[in-house]
């Protein structure tokens, strides 16, 4: 598997990964603001957000029709749809694409659910690797506190209730998140994740993120004004 840059695409893909409550979404949002302010072509894509596949996924989740296999496949379908229709065309057009979760989320979740790692990785092998993966690494207790404070109503699959780890959703969530963290830690070296200490404050983390992006991607090449005529409407 190669990254988009290695494959010769003009655009770049940056992904954030980590447990729920690690602060990924906040950080990628701030990164997006910063890039946009520099007049850079940016596109943001979220996990599990393809319009067409969504209705099947939410039906499956609501009615708890999903098994580890179909859970994996329906998320792969969703990802493929976004990948083929949005991510690849935009990267070909020279965009910097920001992904809140990428294939590693599937690798972690599906394997914890009991799917064979080789099978899951084979399925996602059509996708190129991100040029940068930020792994927001927080202490398990920190992530748990953030999630359990803000949103006390846990959803069935989110809490890993389908794994029958515990009848108590909170206990199930704790065990499930712990297992996901193990998977992330195993993948971190293999895929060269850039670990960000997510126990620290927002600004500290964002500062590190921005410095790394600026170092690894020649941002001046991605500015809109470089390639398109900009007409000021005023």
């Amino acid at each position: 598997m190669k990254s988009f840059a290695e494959l010769g695409y003009p655009g770049r893909l940056i992904a954030v990964e980590g447990l729920d409550g690690a602060g990924k979404s906040t950080q990628i949002y701030l990164l997006k603001k910063w890039l946009e302010k520099q007049d850079i072509k940016v596109y943001f894509s979220e996990w599990n957000s393809s319009e067409l596949v969504k209705s099947a996924t939410s039906k499956g989740k609501k009615m708890t029709l999903l098994t580890p296999t179909t859970f994996c496949l329906i998320h792969a379908t969703d990802f493929a749809d976004r990948y083929e229709r949005h991510l690849v065309p935009l990267i070909r057009a020279g965009y910097i694409v920001l992904c809140d979760r990428y294939i590693f989320t599937a690798f972690a979740r599906d394997v914890v659910r009991g799917c064979r790692p080789e099978w899951v990785r084979g399925i996602y092998s059509f996708a190129a690797l991100p040029d940068i993966v930020f792994f927001f690494r927080a202490e398990l207790e920190v992530s748990l506190r953030r999630i359990l404070q803000g949103r006390p109503q846990l959803k069935y699959f989110e809490a890993g209730m389908d794994l029958a780890l515990s009848n108590d959703p909170y206990e199930s969530f704790r065990i499930f998140q712990g297992r996901l963290l193990e998977q992330y830690l195993q993948m971190s070296k293999e895929f060269g994740f850039i670990e960000i200490n997510a126990n620290g404050c927002v600004e500290e983390q964002q500062s590190v993120v921005r410095q790394i992006v600026a170092k690894m991607i020649p941002l001046e090449k991605f500015a809109q004004s470089k390639s398109t005529v900009y007409i000021n409407q005023e």
Partner: protein, 258 residues
């Protein structure tokens, strides 16, 4: 079936029911997590073939025959899952999904049927008659340029059937049968999404030939039985019954040997 024929059939049925020996199954690849394939003691029979190859006619005749001879049956097919069949139809109508996405969508549908229909029935010792299986899905995707290794990994979740019969019908006869049935050709069965020809008739013939070639390739890998689907309904029916009977009986002799 005419009443006379039915009567003949009734008279031919012996009282003694063939008791198939439970056979342990295998998965093609990594299989389904949490399922021990050895616990699948039923029989899985797959009928493959294009639209108009006579699959459904043959299956309904087989179901009738199997049940009359004392076997419990369950049928499965493609695009029948509660989970995604509706969305799949919608996606096909709009033709908005790209190849990998559509392929995975179909795989989701298949997995749902596999886990909710096929596997439970095999666990209970039923005879499952599958109206198409992974081979149609793989052949369609191969024709659309999807990597074969990728497909074989994906469908490694499938149970290896006890028999696969491929009803091979020449594209020219398929055209005639489709017209006789619907007076029109189906967009997807004509492979119109591939842009082979803007003429649907031409596209149908080219596409069906491509599928046949793909099936030929798959036959080498998966080794299924090719049935000449150009023959009459009765002739094919007889051939299938004979072959299925051998499968059920062979299991029986194995049991006696023990």
């Amino acid at each position: 079936m005419s009443p006379k024929k039915l009567q003949n059939l009734v008279q031919k049925i012996p009282n003694k029911v063939i008791v198939p020996k439970p056979v342990h199954h295998k998965f093609y690849g990594y299989g389904v997590p949490g399922i021990n394939p050895e616990a699948l003691t039923g029989t899985l029979i797959v009928i493959e073939g294009a639209d108009g190859s006579g699959r459904s006619t043959q299956i309904s005749m087989l179901v009738d025959w199997l049940e009359c001879t004392g076997h419990a049956t369950v049928q499965s097919g493609l695009k029948r899952s509660t989970l995604v069949s509706e969305e799949l139809n919608q996606a096909q109508k709009g033709n908005i999904l790209s190849h990998t996405t559509l392929s995975l969508f179909y795989a989701t549908d298949f997995a749902d049927q596999l886990e909710n229909v096929i596997i439970p029935a095999l666990k209970s010792g039923f005879i499952v008659l599958a109206d198409r299986y992974i081979y149609t899905l793989i052949a369609r995707d191969m024709v659309r340029g999807i990597d074969e290794t990728w497909l074989r990994n994906l469908y490694g979740l499938a149970v290896v059937p006890d028999a696969v019969f491929y009803l091979n019908v020449s594209p020219e006869i398929l055209v005639q049968r489709n017209f006789a049935k619907n007076h029109s050709l189906d967009y997807w069965e004509s492979g119109m999404d591939l842009g082979l020809s803007r003429d649907m008739f031409d596209s149908f013939l080219i596409y069906q030939k491509m599928l046949q070639d793909a099936f030929e390739r798959l036959q080498e890998i998966y080794g299924f039985t090719v049935i000449d689907g150009n023959h009459s309904i009765e002739k094919i029916d007889n051939e299938l019954k004979k072959k299925i009977e051998t499968i059920l009986k062979r299991k029986n002799t194995l049991k006696r040997k023990k």
